[in-house]
């Protein structure tokens, strides 16, 4: 057996060949980006009506793309464009080339659908390998993948990445914390992938079960799908003795693996030879000054099934002007702290208040007063939707009221894809505010 200390130190990593583009000299990187941008703009222009129309409106054709800097000539793409062209309107490849479809929750009832060719899946897996390599992971690692599998890109993204890395993948998926801890112990797991809040929950449960993570070979956490903070990192690392790394990604771009922290844990490197970043003013869409905070805009340089030109992520961050101590040439963004819209993330799932309204309206005829309370109990996110009971829906029968509660909960689960507690409250107990109602109260400690 390898001794615990050397596993914890993460020795045996070394340089992974997939990481080569991370170290490209600037000129070469720009050449590669330019070459890929030309190809992808042509793919988008030739195959997607929306892109062609938008570019025509701006008087731009693929021939106007001479260098990566010309990306600013391209039109922006918004989440609403995905909704408006649901399901296949933004596909740029024929069905016989598409091998995967994923979906995430949209702003209302319809999901946001994304597609991948075989080549896209390879780019994605490769980006995940580069992310794992950033954390010092290698083929000897035993990866417990506790991201949810399915339409959500987190699970299968990390899974294919782990497989491409040559590591052992335990596809445990989310939930069943006691079993997660049992497997972590019994299989000498060295790295875990999940949301940071879920890992905190695992830690608290492990403590109750008398399991000290310090005594286990676990050494790295791949934490993403929700915003978190330095203080959360400090807490996780102190409680477990592992290194907690941030990973960034969104399904519209490719899924997890758009960017990752390196062992310096100082900002997330973007794999910008595939995902080209810009920072713009969220109000005007104008480019920000170098180092200035703004909205991250990403262009996929290699995704053939569904190219994204200048996708507005609504994530607020900045690009670090300095190069990283790790030696990688690819640029870094600051970890995502907030958003420019009202989306919130719960248990790794994106939720828009407008979806909650859609769900409530599906049960009640008129929009009830409601409020969303987000809480974190033992590291686990909880979402409660408080709904005021009106005379229209009130019944003297317990069963009928519980039935209403269940119907609302089911409708929410259907629309959001996650479970939310529904609490019926008396009328006029939810605070009315002037103008825009305060729909979301977030009590989670970040």
């Amino acid at each position: 057996m390898t001794n615990l200390a050397s596993i914890k130190a993460g020795t045996g990593g070394g340089f992974h060949p997939a990481s080569a583009p991370d170290y490209l000299p600037d000129a070469q990187l720009r050449d590669l980006q330019t070459q890929r941008l030309k190809r992808i703009v042509k793919q988008a222009y030739d195959n997607v009506a929306l892109y062609r129309r938008r570019m025509e409106e701006l008087n731009v054709t693929p021939d106007d793309i001479h260098s990566i800097d010309d990306v600013v000539k391209l039109p922006f793409t918004n989440k609403s464009d995905l909704r408006d062209n649901y399901p296949f309107g933004l596909f740029a490849a024929p069905m016989n080339e598409i091998v995967r479809v994923h979906a995430s929750s949209g702003t209302t009832g319809k999901p946001t659908v994304v597609a991948y060719t075989r080549e896209d899946i390879d780019v994605w897996s490769n980006s995940m390998v580069r992310a794992f390599a950033c954390y010092g992971m290698h083929s000897g690692d035993i990866i417990q993948n506790a991201y949810g599998y399915g339409l959500f890109t987190g699970g299968l993204g990390a899974h294919y990445g782990g497989e491409a890395l040559g590591a052992t993948v335990i596809p445990i998926s989310g939930g069943n914390t006691d079993r997660q801890i049992m497997i972590m112990k019994d299989f000498s797991v060295t790295a875990i992938c999940c949301t940071p809040s879920y890992f905190l929950h695992v830690l608290e449960r492990a403590q109750e079960m008398g399991v000290d993570i310090h005594d286990l070979p676990l050494r790295a956490g791949v934490f993403g799908a929700e915003p978190w903070t330095e203080s959360m990192r400090d807490r996780i690392e102190a409680m477990s003795g592992i290194k907690a790394y941030d990973i960034y990604g969104l399904s519209e771009i490719i899924g997890p693996g758009v960017g990752a922290e390196c062992q310096a844990q100082d900002g997330l490197h973007l794999f910008e030879d595939h995902f080209y970043p810009e920072i713009v003013n969220p109000e005007t869409g104008e480019p920000c000054q170098p180092g200035e905070e703004g909205e991250l805009v990403l262009t996929t340089l290699s995704k053939m099934a569904m190219p994204m030109l200048r996708y507005r992520t609504h994530d607020i961050t900045c690009i670090y002007p300095e190069t990283c101590s790790c030696g990688r040439g690819i640029r870094r963004i600051r970890r995502i702290g907030r958003r420019s819209d009202d989306m919130f993330i719960i248990r790794g799932v994106n939720v828009f208040p407008s979806q909650v309204e859609t769900a409530l309206l599906a049960v009640e005829e008129t929009m009830p007063h409601y409020q969303i309370i987000l809480d974190r109990e033992k590291g686990l996110d909880r979402m409660e939707v408080q709904v005021e009971v009106t005379a229209d829906v009130f019944s003297d029968k317990v069963r009928a009221l519980e039935g209403l509660q269940n119907k609302l909960a089911k409708s929410l689960e259907h629309t959001l894809g996650i479970h939310a507690n529904v609490r019926l409250v008396e009328p006029h107990t939810i605070e009315r505010s002037q103008g825009k109602a305060r729909r979301v109260i977030d009590r989670r400690e970040m």
């Binding site: 009130f394 003297d396 317990v398 609490r423 019926l424 008396e426 107990t429």
Partner: protein
């Protein structure tokens, strides 16, 4: 012969019951009997009051969610087996009980039970045909001392 029952939605938090009682007190409405159903998250207070319309208005003025529903007050013998007897009759009549609770007082060895049936009119007709004494609101009010 059916009675009006008021029901109130209550969240499970302190002071909720007091508020409702206060509203009725201010309006001068007397509570003849009540029952409280509680669940994990909320409760339903069911009330028979001296003047249900006035009571409903008073409670609504206090921003309570109030419903009025028809229930039946049945007289039963206040002796062992009295309840079994009436439940037997109800079952024989094929009537579904949603819920029930007891009235706080009776007379001459009789007790009074409040029943919520799915089809109250039909249920009362069937029960009366079996000689069950269904008590009306005036009678009930008098029974309770005419306050």
């Amino acid at each position: 012969m059916k009675l009006k029952q008021l029901s109130l939605f209550l969240e499970n938090r302190p002071g909720q019951l007091v508020q409702a009682a206060q509203a009725l007190k201010e309006a001068g409405v007397n509570i003849l009997t009540l029952s409280l159903a509680d669940t994990e998250q909320f409760g339903i207070l069911r009330l028979i009051v001296s003047d249900w319309e006035k009571g409903k208005r008073a409670l609504e003025a206090h921003q309570c969610v109030v419903n009025a529903a028809d229930v039946a007050a049945l007289e039963v013998s206040d002796r062992p087996g009295g309840l079994a007897e009436i439940l037997g009759i109800i079952e024989e009549c094929g009537i579904n009980i949603e819920y029930m609770y007891a009235f706080t007082f009776g007379r001459d060895g009789k007790a009074i039970l409040i029943f919520r049936f799915e089809e109250v009119d039909e249920a009362i007709a069937k029960l009366q045909a079996r000689n069950v004494n269904v008590i009306g609101s005036v009678e009930l009010f008098e029974l309770s001392g005419g306050r």
